[in-house]
């Protein structure tokens, strides 16, 4: 068969239909490639920016056990960013390019990280809710049609399994602690609940990229489906802790077999996406600082390696 565009597209579609993974050297439609680069790099940026709100509390963690757990977790996020950047690099972009897109504000990352972590309870809430929401998405992505992305997600899901448990344990210690601690946990839950629901993105009716991503089997479930699974999973977890989810419309719907939940404030969502969140500017400032101040280090290491290679050659 000749490699006309039509044939290539048909072959590509046949592979998707047969659940055969697409690999870096395979032919793929330009738009598929671009969508993947956008999505994987956004995902990577979210991991890297996500290190900041939690990293904030490493130095203030209230016990040595908590300090080690949090440090390991934030480090894992760096690792996950690395795996994802590597997956995106197989599509022909460079890590430097992706960093520059992030730093200039051109690339997006998950808006959840534009909210501040104010108290230690926020570290519990972030682990429990934000990681919980992320896992819903990531488990789905282990089946993504692009091989390197799916494989990165498998590794990430394996490693993430302790993150949500850590967050829940932190929240549990507070919920079962003094009245002051319990109040701290409830306050954190109140602030993180709605932004966590927003993490799944706009509702299916509004989502611009969703349908195509589903057709390409990058995504397997819609935003609303994932959001519903998250709500269903989280309600009993909150009940166990004796904490109240801040939604008066939340109730079990026998007919649907799911929890109904209240309306999400999409104005807030879009404000934060567009840069109006409490921490958007700060996060980018910190990323730019680390990248720019690291430039001489990266250059020096490269220069040294070149010198070393040169000397080896001459010996």
């Amino acid at each position: 068969m000749e490699n006309t565009i039509e044939n290539l597209e048909a072959k590509f579609q046949a592979k998707l239909d047969a659940e055969i993974k697409i690999e870096p050297k395979d032919w793929m439609p330009d738009k598929y490639r671009k969508t993947l680069v956008r999505q994987i790099s956004q995902h990577a940026h979210s991991e890297i920016v996500g290190m900041l709100p939690e990293g904030n509390w490493i130095t203030r963690a209230p016990s040595l056990r908590r300090k080690i757990g949090l440090l390991a977790k934030v480090q894992d996020e760096g690792g996950h960013g690395l795996y994802l950047y590597s997956a995106a690099e197989t599509l022909g972009t460079s890590r430097d390019q992706m960093f520059e897109d992030l730093n200039s504000g051109k690339a997006k990352y998950s808006s959840i990280f534009n909210y501040p972590t104010l108290t230690w309870a926020d570290i519990g809430a972030v682990g429990w809710l934000v990681d919980g929401a992320a896992i819903m998405n990531q488990v789905m992505l282990t089946r993504a049609s692009y091989g390197p992305y799916a494989r990165a997600m498998v590794r990430i899901c394996k490693e993430e399994s302790f993150h949500q448990r850590q967050g829940y344990e932190i929240t549990m210690a507070l919920a079962q602690g003094s009245p002051e601690q319990k109040e701290m946990a409830q306050d954190a839950l109140n602030r993180w609940w709605w932004p966590s629901l927003m993490m799944f993105g706009p509702s299916d009716a509004e989502s611009t990229h969703s349908a195509q991503s589903m057709a390409w089997k990058i995504k397997r479930k819609s935003n609303d489906e994932l959001r519903q699974s998250f709500v269903d999973a989280t309600v009993p977890q909150a009940e166990f802790l004796g904490l109240t989810l801040p939604d008066k419309d939340l109730k079990w719907n026998e007919e649907r077999g799911h929890y109904d939940y209240g309306a999400i404030d999409w104005d807030e969502f879009w404000q934060v996406v567009k840069g109006g969140g409490p921490c958007n500017k700060d996060r980018l400032k910190v990323r730019n600082k680390a990248y720019n101040e690291g430039a001489w280090v990266r250059e020096a290491a490269m220069a040294h390696a070149e010198k070393r290679a040169e000397r080896k050659k001459n010996n």
Binding site: I58, T59, S63, R65, Q181, V297
Partner: protein
Amino acid sequence: MENKEVLFDYVLRIADNALILGHRVSELCGHGPSLETDIGLTNIALDLVGHARVLLQYAADVEGKGRTDDDLAFLRDIREFKNVLLVEQPNGNFANTIARQFLFDTFNYHFFAALTNSKDENLVAIAKKSIKEVTYHYRYSAEWVIRLGDGTEESHEKMQSALNEIWDYAGEMFVADEVDKQMLAEGIGVDLNAIKALWEERVTAILKEATLDKPEDGWIQKGGKQGKHTEQMGFVLAEIQWMQRAYPGMEW
């Protein structure tokens, strides 16, 4: 001082070095010059805080007053912290961080190696367990000194000034006071003079490979081992201890 008190003090010194340096390095998590370096440095921070934990648990046992590792980390006041001044110095730029790390890691490696021959079984067990990680740190920071020293003109200059700036703090690691002497006499502690020779040899060799000048020995800034710290330490403790101080007596 009674034997038990001397041993308590001695273990605290080792523990606090790990705790405070681990804390300093942990400040960098998420801010490293490259992702790989960020992850590598955080491994070092994790190792150090891990060492601090077992050492503080042991110190608490030696003291025998029912305190825990967390009590010792979060509820001692500044004068009761016994780390050397070197480790409490701020991260500065990456060259400052590496200079501090290299001088300490080189000391720590030889210190732990010697500690495996201690007469105190607990210290031997801790040293044997930690030495593997400490050996990795010892190589890691030396590699970075070489890269930065023998990298670009800019990195060479930054690495050289970082060494010059921190050099006065290195000497304290080898100044033996009464506690060190008593512990050595009892076969528990490490002979700091013997380690100094090994440290000098290694530092000289690495700096040479890195095309860096070894700074002149001059005045030694010291006092940390006796709890007389630099002003930096107050801020370090303010951050480490804030939660436990603001919400006393709670479980987290």
